[in-house]
Structures are given as C-alpha cells and as structure tokens.
C-alpha cells in the first residue's frame, strides 16, 4: 500500500466506498477465488480475507479509481502470501465429464463444414471448464483475468506485479496450452 497517497475518509465516505465500489465486485472476486482454490469454503475464506484487508487499507484507495483491479490485487497477494501456504488440498480435475462425452454416440455424429464454428461454440463450453481447471495456476489466472473478467494487459500487470511483456507471454502460453487440450475435441468436430 502506498502511504504517500493516503486519504483519510469519514465513516460515511467509507460506507459509500464499501457499498458502491467494493461490494459490486463481490461475485467476480468470489468466482476468481473459487477458480484458484476449487473449494467453496476456501473461496469464502479468501474473499473474507481480501475484504478485511480492503477495509483496513481503505484510506490508501483512491475513490473513483479501479476498485475491481485493486481488490483482485489484494486477493492475489493474500492467496500467494498466506492462503497458498496453508492450503494442502490437491488440485481436483474432473475428467469424468470428458470421458463420458468421448464414450457417447455424440462423438461420431457427422458435421458439415458450415456448422463447424457453431458446433464448436455450442459444445466446447463443457470442455473449456475442464481444460481451464487443469491449467497451472499462473496460466489459469491470466485466462480468467483476461477472458472472463476482461482486464486489460496493463491492469493484469498491476494485479499480478509482473511486466506487461510477461502478461503477454503468459497469456500466449496459456492459450497454446488450452488449444492443445481442446484440440482432440476440436478434431472430433472435424474443425481442424
């Protein structure tokens, strides 16, 4: 937190910041916490820790600036500094969903080239979830921040404390991994 930019808010101002700027992002924050912990209780703990830190350092937040990025940064730091150390839960990846699909009749259904894009959009959703969950945490994080939450490269660089060039290369690698993981599926649709 940058002490040079401290602004001492009144209780009323703090309440407005909390209700109007922090709370509207609670679902995105919780979803991100869940996507990196794979556990609802852990996600709740992480979100609670994030907001408690936000309350504590609220005077270092500039009202009207990017609260969402600010909260995501706190969450990321909480996860790295404290939460990740105490979390003993191994990463859970549900491959059952993929296996069920590949053993079903749907796999062999013919598909015309005109429908390829629509088909991949329609069916790739289920596979995407499994593929993202199987990515390493650093790659999963950039995909969620960029593709799901719509952060810019600059915002992601600030949230993750890494240079923009690293954001780009990490995203590039993450997309390559995703594409590789989904390639078998895309092939089955006759797309590639």
């Amino acid at each position: 937190m940058d002490c040079k930019k401290l602004k001492f808010y009144s209780s009323e101002e703090k309440e407005l910041i909390f209700e109007d700027e922090f709370l509207p992002h609670i679902h995105s924050i919780y979803n991100f916490a869940y996507r990196i912990t794979f556990n609802e209780d852990d996600a709740k703990d992480l979100v609670q820790e994030t907001y408690l830190k936000a309350f504590r350092f609220i005077d270092s937040f500039q009202k009207g600036t990017n609260a969402k990025a600010w909260l995501f940064r706190i969450l990321k730091n909480s996860f790295i500094n404290e939460f990740r150390k105490r979390s003993k839960e191994p990463v859970k990846v549900d491959y059952q969903e993929v296996e069920t699909y590949y053993n079903s009749d749907e796999v062999d259904q013919p598909i015309t080239s005109d429908l390829r894009i629509e088909a991949i959009k329609e069916k790739i959703g289920d596979e995407v979830s499994v593929a993202i969950n199987s990515l390493d945490i650093d790659f999963r994080t950039v995909i969620i921040l960029c593709d799901l939450e719509g952060f810019t490269y600059e915002e992601m660089a600030k949230i993750l404390d890494i240079p923009i060039g690293t954001v780009r290369s990490r995203l590039h690698r993450a997309r390559n991994l995703l594409r590789d993981k989904l390639k078998v599926y895309a092939d089955s649709l006759g797309y590639t």
Binding site: S11, E40, D126, V128, L148, R179, L182, A186, T192
Partner: protein, 83 residues
C-alpha cells in the same frame, strides 16, 4: 485463400492474441486484417481462439458469492468503521 502453411505463424499468433484481447495497435490491425483473409491456417486459428474465448465468457459457470458471506462482510465492515 492459401492452403499452404503460414510463413511466419509465430508472429501471426502473437498479433492474433492482441487482436482478440483488443490490445493491437493500428499497424497490427492492418497487418492482421490483410493477412487473415489470405491465410487459411491463421484464419482457422483465429476462429478456434475466438470460439474458446467466447465459450469461456458465455459458458463457464460463474460462481456467485453466498449471501451469508455478503452479510458477514457488512457486519465486519461496520465493526471496522466503529473501531
């Protein structure tokens, strides 16, 4: 459209990522718009990446924060402003 492999696919993919993320500059946009119309490999690559990104946005389940958590945070916030 060319069916032969792209001559500099690594560069094209890096530009393609910038285009998809809305981070490309004018030069990169011009290059991409010209190239992708002529290159089958890049065109398909772009379509797949767009489909994946769209699926992430539209179909990945978004977990909502439980109401009891929101309620708890409001209480904690009140406590923090009183102290």
């Amino acid at each position: 459209m060319k069916e032969k492999p792209c001559v500099d696919h690594d560069y094209c993919v890096s530009v393609l990522n910038l285009i998809i993320d809305g981070e490309a500059n004018e030069l990169e946009k011009t290059f991409f718009n010209t190239h992708v119309k002529e290159c089958l490999q890049c065109s398909e690559y772009y379509s797949i990446d767009q489909a994946i990104r769209e699926a992430i946005r539209k179909k990945l389940e978004k977990k909502e924060a439980p109401q009891d958590l929101i309620h708890l945070l409001r209480i904690k916030f009140k406590e923090s402003t009183r102290s």
